[in-house]
Symmetry: C2
Subunit: 487 residues, 2 copies
């Protein structure tokens, strides 16, 4: 295991100060040009040296005919060229003294016997010069913390805490928007492609040492270095959670993976055992992968599995209770102290069983502070799950009824909702040991929920997703204890 | 079983021409006022007669001191009054000759022994006058097809084909936005509350006969009339699908249901058996309930379980393959005829295994017509599942690169994307026997997907949700065959 992130061969690949870029031109509809344009759009601040045989300038930057002409030895080469000239280019990079590369080009192991030979040749060249590289047949890396995004799709949303090491490039380049909409962002994302030189284990090790990464997510079609994977994952999960989506376990998934990256998969049971052994949480879908990451990256360790559900609607409360029950969470009854404190704040028709169903708001401000505050003080419970309907729906109507001019309504609403959201958020500081989670059936982009997501309060679009994510957090800490005790 | 919708006691409740409204006033922050305001907002075109002891006018409409003073006998009474005066009001309605009512007021069976007595009294009064009523402790109905929404939350989105009968009022009033965002709308939604007079079986029967309803969804905390439920559901599922979310099967869900509507639940296994016996698809979550409804309400009956996955990204293709495999779908290889037809349209690096991974678009117009058209002609497959990334992402960048003025870019994009979406949609007409389903990890509100959702092409936010929804369609038809053969 590496002791610091700088020891990883990936450090200069994820944090380059200068890049030689092969394959970008002034014709936009080329993969290389599109990738360079993404990098420019995010505003990478290091040096970019386009290498081009004929162009003097590429996308506004001075271009060089050969890598040999560069004024310095760049930290990294990004190669987006036709398969046939990749090996020669790698050799040129080696001669220049470049030690790190990303080979985006495909047509290697995944493309049949000829490709296999080509890949061997590429590996030999790298070995000769001591070059460490990602790929081939990958989309490289994204490191939004240094505004680095040389992938074909523009980055959206701010950087975050989710590290991703993926055997699919799509999940590096196509998930910016998804993560942002769900309250997350990448700390760093690595696409490993054919793993000729650097594999998913190296990436996991890098993310384990990466200070921006609070939780590691893996997309796996097949693991080659099983023993090293287990050893590395074990060391990481003792202090940082890992969630893995493995698709090679079904016949259909196995075949898809084989034609995608040529990787070797194995039966679900073997992977399940391997994941369990090293404290990795398994996700069955991409939705679960990032749902679990959100909870693992934001919530404190719960002291137990006892949860209180706060709702103002019976049905959503009952679906949440059912989901929590199925996820192995317990719904304790409220203590008499808590009941006493709640009494003055809730309507007569409210239910103080768990779910606590306020039926309607006597005062919305209390729904977002006093009531959950009392529930979080409950000594018999470890967590709070709150249902969010949009307060905007009601506030807008009330303001209209009060004849507030249309143009002021939205500003007033925003102010009020932000105020409610801030007070709700303050509960996470008041009760730092008790996880607070939300669910809603409305869009996550409505102001109150969006505000809370941006502050790191996990809110899900179904109580099932919330309950399973909490269960993942409990499972992680349970496995962590087991691993820590054993080691 | 009723032979026409007019025979149902619910017909005048869901399709009233005139309503006596009890409990609305000029004070907005009262449940009755809020409900009347929702109804006014959607623009219900029938007569509304507010009844109020002191006000001469309520929310701009002439108010009446007593129901006896009304100029006609209204089709329906909606009662949103304090518990104590509900019985007297029902009696007044009876005297006036009103035959149908919705009792929104709570404080009956769900509220303990006194409430039980009060509910018995209410039932007796209704019986005496031959009044059929929904509730008490319910949110009544929504029928967006006649702009009727007397629930506390304003309706959003157009009417649709999803009928809902629910033991939670929240799911009537709080799901307009959810359904619209996911490409659906209510045909009619009924909240049954304590089911004192009309129960969920009556509602299911009504929806079975309702011509606007293509699929029936049920939210169940507990069924009282088991035998009648089975008999009615069996008759309906022979021609119309029913999906049920039952939350009373877990200990937590059972307790939540009891304090919500006082209903009696039973073990999961009993409900599972009951649902299977009458051809009802069971959903475990609200997300599944409406996911299945979308597929069941839009897709033709598949001829078999063989599906082709079309993607331009390996990872999303592999996750989709894995999800399809787990959902019991088969991924057949493409026939040589299909391979021959595809060849000129896809890049060399594309994979023509199933998933068909185009890797990138040679011509985006072909991704949305020629390629899926060829895949739909494949004789070895019954369905197509297509991955949608936002074409807008690329088109915007290309137009920018072409120096198209910023103000024209969005109009141009919209035009192009609508064109792609229309040609894709035309495939559903060209191949009416083969279900076409989509999935995306981006927002459903982006233009292309939104256009397709609005046309009735089901697109899901995860391939797992798509695969399971297809499996629900297959299961429905399989059960339907079994039931039809047996009867």
């Amino acid at each position: 295991m590496i002791r610091s992130i700088q020891e990883s061969p990936l450090y200069p690949i994820v944090n380059p100060k200068s890049i030689a870029f092969f394959g970008a031109s002034n014709t936009f509809m080329r993969m290389g040009s599109i990738m360079l344009s993404s990098m420019q759009a995010l505003g990478y601040e290091g040096e970019i040296y386009p290498i081009h045989l004929t162009e003097k300038e590429v996308r506004g930057r001075k271009a060089y005919t050969s890598v040999m002409d560069l004024p310095e030895v760049p930290d990294l080469a990004i190669i987006v060229l036709p398969t046939e000239i990749v090996c020669q280019t790698m050799d040129d990079c080696g001669k220049k003294g470049i030690k790190h590369a990303i080979v985006v080009s495909g047509g290697f192991r995944e493309a049949g016997p000829e490709g296999v030979e080509m890949q061997k040749k590429l590996e030999a060249i790298a070995l000769k010069y001591g070059i460490r590289f990602l790929g081939p047949n990958c989309l490289g890396v994204a490191n939004p913390h240094i505004k680095l995004n040389p992938t074909p799709i523009q980055a959206e949303g701010p950087p975050g805490f989710v590290g991703l090491a993926s055997q699919s490039g799509s999940f590096i380049t196509q998930m910016f928007d998804y993560l942002h909409r769900h309250g997350m962002g990448f700390s760093a994302a690595l696409s490993v492609g054919n793993e000729a030189n650097i594999d998913i284990v190296d990436c996991m090790e890098y993310l384990g040492a990466c200070p921006n990464t609070k939780v590691i997510t893996l997309y796996i079609e097949g693991i080659a270095r099983g023993k090293k994977f287990i050893e590395t994952a074990k060391a990481i999960t003792a202090r940082k959670p890992i969630v893995a989506l493995y698709v090679g376990g079904s016949e259909a998934g196995k075949n898809a993976g084989r034609s995608h990256t040529g990787s070797l998969s194995g039966p679900n049971e073997i992977y399940d055992g391997m994941f369990r052994q090293c404290g990795i949480i398994r996700a069955q879908t991409l939705t679960e992968l990032f749902d679990y990451a959100l909870a693992l990256g934001t919530l404190p360790r719960p002291l137990g599995n006892r949860i209180i559900i706060q709702t103002h609607s019976g049905g959503p409360g009952a679906t949440a209770a059912d989901a929590c029950g199925r996820a192995g969470l317990a719904l304790p009854p409220l203590s008499s102290e808590t009941l006493e404190k709640l009494k003055p704040l809730i309507p007569k028709t409210a239910s103080t069983a768990n779910p606590v169903d306020m039926t309607f708001s006597k005062n919305p401000a209390e729904d977002y502070f006093n009531i959950p505050d009392i529930l979080l003080q409950e000594k018999n419970a470890d967590m709070l799950l709150a249902y969010f309907l949009s307060p905007g729906l009601f506030i807008e109507r009330i303001l209209k009824e009060m004849d507030v001019p249309a143009e002021s309504i939205h500003a007033e609403m925003d102010k009020l909702i932000t105020q409610y959201a801030s007070t709700f958020f303050s509960l996470t500081k008041l009760h730092p040991d008790k996880p607070i989670i939300g669910f809603t059936y409305r869009s996550l982009q409505e102001r109150m929920v969006r505000f809370l997501l941006d502050q790191g309060v996990p809110i899900y679009q179904d109580p099932e997703r919330a309950a399973r994510s909490i269960a993942a957090v409990l499972e992680y800490h349970k496995m962590q204890d087991g691993i820590t005790e054993a080691s």
